[in-house]
Symmetry: C2
């Protein structure tokens, strides 16, 4: 990894998601790795940080998470637009080489047996908080964030610096059907 | 209302939230109206459309929603930056004239006994799906969207048009402490 990845204080981890980016969800179980895209991921609590993510029953990533009780949420960048769209549309069930075919490069962080996607701007490792009713009725999963890192070129000192970082590091915000917006101008109220 | 407000097909209502904007939450109960800001609001299902929103126990808006079983989610614009920050920081419990002091102008849509905030770009009327465990343990509320409208200058034909609309109509994406980003450039994967 050439990007300068630094730990993020857990009390500020919600800020990685607060502006509503589309994310990548990754998981590992019994030596199977997968990555999917999700627009429906949201902060849920500050400290300890929690988040929600909606995982359709058809996804293989969901089955891995139900098996391992762990997952990672990561924030992809404008440079990863095609990768994000590709992992959101291909299924490991149809293509066992999905990750290779969609250009995903994985890495791991010491102490966490989870595949992380290289080139993202932020990573949050989550422990699944088992809530069977939410999972069955709403496809809604709750995770407690137990570790977080960010690329310090674009997130440092507890906040994003999209306005001064390279535009290729901006977050993606999916609308539908491959139409996205990048995050834009900084505003101070 | 001078803005051209048009109904949004319920099957496409999720697109109003899919890009992760900070929203305003409004509710009415026993002749009391209130409006708060929330960054933690997320689509949950397509059709019928559902959404989640996190409402702290200290908020008066939460009590109104628990009383009436109805709420509205609306998407504020760059032109409403100060209003959004103000309703997110003032409490009706401290200031009974909060809405007047924060510059909120309300209107209603026929058939829905709910206060809607003028000047937003989209409005979603929701029926609370009562989930007491989520509400108590996580401050997490689930709503079914039963009606939606948008300002057709910026959302029409089932999608946002931020890239061609006036920049003052862009959505707000809060990070923390009054730091926001506007939504930015359109990208097609």
């Amino acid at each position: 990894m050439s990007a300068p990845i630094r730990p993020v204080d857990l009390a500020k981890a919600y800020r990685l998601l607060n502006h509503g980016p589309t994310v990548l969800v990754s998981a590992r179980h019994q030596a199977v790795d997968n990555v999917m895209a999700a627009a429906w991921c949201c902060a849920l609590d500050f400290d300890p940080p929690k988040l929600t993510v909606v995982l359709d029953k058809a996804t293989r990533t969901r089955a891995l998470i139900e098996g391992s009780g762990l997952f990672a949420i990561q924030v992809p960048t404008v440079a990863q637009l095609q990768l994000t769209q590709a992992v959101g549309n291909a299924s490991l069930a149809d293509d066992p080489a999905k990750l290779a075919h969609t250009g995903v490069e994985l890495f791991t962080m010491e102490g966490h047996d989870l595949p992380l996607v290289a080139g993202c701007s932020a990573w949050l490792v989550c422990r699944l908080i088992d809530e069977p009713h939410n999972q069955q009725a709403y496809d809604l999963f709750i995770g407690e964030v137990i570790a977080a890192w960010a690329d310090e070129r674009v997130f440092r000192d507890g906040r994003w610096h999209f306005e001064t970082a390279d535009p290729s590091l901006r977050s993606l915000h999916h609308v539908a059907g491959g139409h996205y917006y990048a995050i834009g101008e900084a505003l101070k109220a």
